[in-house]
Subunit: 350 residues, 2 copies
Amino acid sequence: MNFTKQQLHAFTKNVFIKCSMNECDAELAATVLLSADMRGIDSHGVARLSGYVRLFENNRANANPSFKIIHETPSTATLDADKGLGLISAPFAMNIAIEKAKNVGTGWVAIKNSNHFGVAAYHAMQALQHNMIGIAMTNASPLVAPTFSKERMLGTNPICFVFPAEKHQPIVVDMATSAASNGKLEIAQRAEKNIPTSWLQDENGIDSTDAEELKKGGALLPLGGYKGYGLSSIVDLLSGVLSGANYGPWVPPFVSFLNPLNNLPGEGIGHFVGAMRIDAFRPSSEFKKNIDNWIDAFKNANPIDEKQKVLIPGELEFLETERRMKEGIVLNEKVVADLKILADKFEIEF
Amino acid sequence: MNFTKQQLHAFTKNVFIKCSMNECDAELAATVLLSADMRGIDSHGVARLSGYVRLFENNRANANPSFKIIHETPSTATLDADKGLGLISAPFAMNIAIEKAKNVGTGWVAIKNSNHFGVAAYHAMQALQHNMIGIAMTNASPLVAPTFSKERMLGTNPICFVFPAEKHQPIVVDMATSAASNGKLEIAQRAEKNIPTSWLQDENGIDSTDAEELKKGGALLPLGGYKGYGLSSIVDLLSGVLSGANYGPWVPPFVSFLNPLNNLPGEGIGHFVGAMRIDAFRPSSEFKKNIDNWIDAFKNANPIDEKQKVLIPGELEFLETERRMKEGIVLNEKVVADLKILADKFEIEF
């Protein structure tokens, strides 16, 4: 089933309004979700809309949060997101970071008491129009086992850095710190295909190529082994511990049918965003010319196979955005069925 | 051959003084090198001393640099290291970052025109005594092929984040962004052992388990595939492009028998360091108590094998430091022979 961005945006916004979000927040939340669909990150777009609705219904998320800056210096802030969606708390925090960067060179905001923030790239990319490097990361509920552990202690904890270019598209590194995301696993599950080793271990901690093992007590593996565990820890410590959110095994699950643990050490889930003004380090035009040069050098690196040139981080997503702008967004049946249920429930046209 | 830290420190300092470094810089450079040996990172300690000497001899490094801050905001600076060793420019930059963090919450310094900075953890750990999170990274000469490339375009580009704890040792994540460091490869070469797949490709871009392939035109592989390529790119862009240093394939080699390329786009190699005051985000005692709690939770995660508990990032290096403090530092024959040559050349006792 093929949809235009506009169709899905309007529908998504209406659903959020029906969930008692105000028009402005609903518009923003829809924009963030659709940015994932447009970039080809289907797992983080409208496919999650019903999940957000269930968070509201189960009182796990607050549709009308009052964001509060609870701590501040000229280059930092800590935001209490009042159980609001990360889809709106992260852009709010990113704006604070950008304002601080305008004043003192860089700005950094830790966010607690938040919820799933969608695709990290949307937030980090807000910095680009201000000639800044953008950074966004979040912790997430535990699916990943640290090295030597049977137990899931870390989320897929994505990290994103974006760098503006002059003539080229910006460089956008946006990656889970696990070997594979849950989304990739779901694709393998649907296709009933084996997965590569190093993605997953079973409940005994043995490497497995069976994508179903995650549901049977297994765990995702950190990217490249113990280094990925370290990387994921950085994201968890900045997003969770520094902000005052939950961390490690205590990060509340996104799915509303799983309850958070008792005796939580923090509030909600945590994010960490930052903005660095390029011209706080060197003239912006110099920097961007060199970014272009970097991109040209990497694109022209001697390829292993002439038919597959080296890709710049984020390049595929820009191509996909262009394609979907022309050809629309194809949603799979299950997602369409999910959205139809929402349409019926809220009496919205779909 | 077993040495005390003091013996090796005194010798190393004397060598640097004989290379015309002033006493204060020589003391610092020796301290940084010895910190690697004490942490068990043998590849980055006195084993590299003769390499630094050759950089001086070939006029690739400046023993008496004048560091200049060439750009500055309240939270940022860019440092021209005047071809000095990273062993002293990085601590200098880290001090600036710490002072800026005292004033405005965080401090970030990009360094260009520098040289090999030794072990990243030393620099980042300077933040700990100020109750700050410390960050250090550097680019390095190209040994790593980005995904789909035959060509080496990136260094092993390490990244380090350190977080202070209360009752526990701090969390120290210090990792190359390649699957394996060159040091690990050298160990396999000496032992004439096969290496795991995913460490290395041969000159045609085919995965290889032969550690010798790197010398025959092969390349190291990024950590966990294309994500490691993204990660390594972040380090290169912050350290190289943001500072005005060289980047990607142009980063000058550490070994002095290889010449830098012509028409370099920047100056020397680049580093990027940062410091974030904990209490710019939340009260420091709260943060550290939660770090302790994080550490306790991870140490007590259900292990795959009862005999191997989950390790905290940096834990092994603290244990190794304690051990070497008691038992001394064992250097291999080749390193000892190397140091003896330096002792003869400079007429220093060894």
